[in-house]
Symmetry: C2
Subunit: 126 residues, 2 copies
């Protein structure tokens, strides 16, 4: 049986993907893949996601240069979630110019942005 | 505006939740919460999820004793994914008796279980 057949794709044909930085172990993003994206990720060694907003394949870093080089691909006990370990090029995973996307922390009943913007998005997406 | 209103719940009223172990930074699980689960998690300081298979609130560790004590709650840039940092009681997050759920690694075109079972599930769920 093909390893891609063992993934439990949801009703949209997608699986949620947690991407964690190699070394720091920081959780960078939660994104989604369809079958083709996961196959391309494994074959090319670069993270390829499915953009739900644009409804097309999203080669991470194609515009920003902030590619993710695959170190490992894991799946969970229920085969319905994937965990990638990656090297994050440029040290920026988030489109806001931050290291990672989970920069809002719940404090005193409010989401507080607690991580610095490392690069102005206008300079990332020219 | 209530912090719970700022979460972008999906069409089922759920949000995906990544749970990461405090200290080791190991990603333990990907699970789901509805509004009540996230509110209870914040209020009680223990992880409460929504079980999609059982369609009810799931107080993590209620059977196994493997509770998750909340250290922080974060949300991502799009407000559609949550990241918890937790202390994992018993050192076992997975129902298979392993430390975490992402124990299957893609190697040579196959998912290989590469993490040890720390405790027999029959001894966890009596």
């Amino acid at each position: 049986m093909d390893w891609l057949d063992q993934v439990k794709w949801n009703s949209d044909g997608l699986v949620p993907v947690i991407t964690q930085e190699f070394g720091t172990k920081q959780v960078l993003t939660l994104a989604w893949m369809n079958r083709e994206a996961l196959q391309l990720t494994a074959e090319t060694g670069h993270a390829v996601y499915w953009s739900r907003s644009r409804q097309k394949l999203w080669h991470k870093g194609e515009q920003s240069g902030h590619q993710q080089i695959i170190k490992s691909i894991r799946i969970d006990c229920d085969q319905d979630a994937v965990l990638l370990e990656v090297e994050q090029k440029g040290g920026i995973a988030c489109h806001t110019g931050r290291h990672h996307c989970f920069f809002n922390k719940l404090e005193d009943g409010q989401w507080q942005a607690i991580e610095p913007i490392l690069k102005d998005p206008d300079e990332i997406y020219l």
